[in-house]
Symmetry: C2
Amino acid sequence: MDKLIAWMNGVYLPLEEVKIGYQDLGLLRGYAVFDFLRTNQRVPVFLEDYLQRFQESASALRLDMPLSEQAMRNVVRKLVELQPQAEMGLRFLLTGGYSEDAYTVQEPNLIISPVLIKPVPKTLPDAVKIITYPYERQLPQVKSIHYTMGILLQQEVKAANAFDVLYYSEQSVSEFPRSNVFIVNQQGILQTPANAVLKGVTRKHVIQAAANLLPVQEKNISLDELYSAAEIFITSTTKKIIPVTLVNDRVIGAGKPGLVASQLFDRLSAAEENYVQQFQW
Amino acid sequence: MDKLIAWMNGVYLPLEEVKIGYQDLGLLRGYAVFDFLRTNQRVPVFLEDYLQRFQESASALRLDMPLSEQAMRNVVRKLVELQPQAEMGLRFLLTGGYSEDAYTVQEPNLIISPVLIKPVPKTLPDAVKIITYPYERQLPQVKSIHYTMGILLQQEVKAANAFDVLYYSEQSVSEFPRSNVFIVNQQGILQTPANAVLKGVTRKHVIQAAANLLPVQEKNISLDELYSAAEIFITSTTKKIIPVTLVNDRVIGAGKPGLVASQLFDRLSAAEENYVQQFQW
């Protein structure tokens, strides 16, 4: 079996056959939440964290989750077994359902689908440049499908030859459209924004991995603090940790990937390996 | 022929068969714009205004419109002729297209579809209560599909036994999720917010209809000015004008539908009749 298989509202079917009716509130009104994890040797890495966040996003939008956590695990298990690849992404999408008046939430549509991803880095990736943009996501702690600004800014990201765009407000930098930011300040403290961010699962495990390595603070980080950091890095599900050495056109720290990023990458990878070894359905 | 007929990417088909593939950026990332008009005796009322705004929304999200304005008129004409009803809504939806990486805009999907609507009021509707909520839509001048907050607040609207929720910021009230607000102040001036609003087509024609009746200002309106207004009303494509006599629990003006709302309703209806009479494909 070579086809990617998805699950939609109780039915397993080839991914290419997954279609949603026009009256869905996700499509008509952007009313939907999602989440995204990846597998390692057919193990869904940090599965519990992603399922919990997906449930919290659904609750925030007052959407009823059609499956219990155990039923969700069973679907994930079968989907992972059905795919041709051992390493892939899984996307969970929960929408407001088919709504006759195109406004009132109905029984949600739930789709769980495989996503082909690039091989996950085994060592710290090359450093990248980022740009900044004044913006704050609405309901930032909810993983909604609302990525209008991030997609719109892709043109600016490409024009600047950058990897991604970091949002900021008057008070603090916050997050990238699809990932979190960390800095190591000049005092050797690891910091990551506390507010107006989606609490990334990789973010959580990086904070855990930093224990006994350096002090960690979740706090507001100003643009000035960002520029004067010793290290900056991005955390994401698919890339783990990516060092940042250029913000707009300002060089960060020594202008090369930092030691803390490298150490945390190894610790995070070890935590993932440990999870994979211990994992049981 | 009793079925509602839609148009999708060049094909006419029954509305119930309109489905969109899972990889569409509208569904996965909320990246889509739309517009909505209604017909009167099979004439699409103020068609040019809606087509122009739809094009402006598409341009703002850097989406290429697959049809010229003339080609769009031709599709609208055929759709209107194909429907069983003479009075209905037409929804235009343009999405970011099927995107393999679920992030990069591709060739857009365009769907034009009929929507069953309630009969349009022939006389000024009964007055309603509204509530207020501190919020500002992102990219407010773009008619994107992003209605998360409006739908989420439906519960508060119902709990307050209200008709709709009016957004406001520190500076000004702005708009309802799907319609505009006007006030008549104590000096007899018609006012409507200038900024952070979607420029409604009905809003435009109400402003025109007010000529020679009373002075009109597009300006910021504070919550205090809202509360102390002589009249408040809502403008919308499907309801034309709806008087508001309660904001949260405060009575507005004399607590009954105002004279200006009534006069403008009649003038707006006359402008629509005139448009319908003059209309040519």
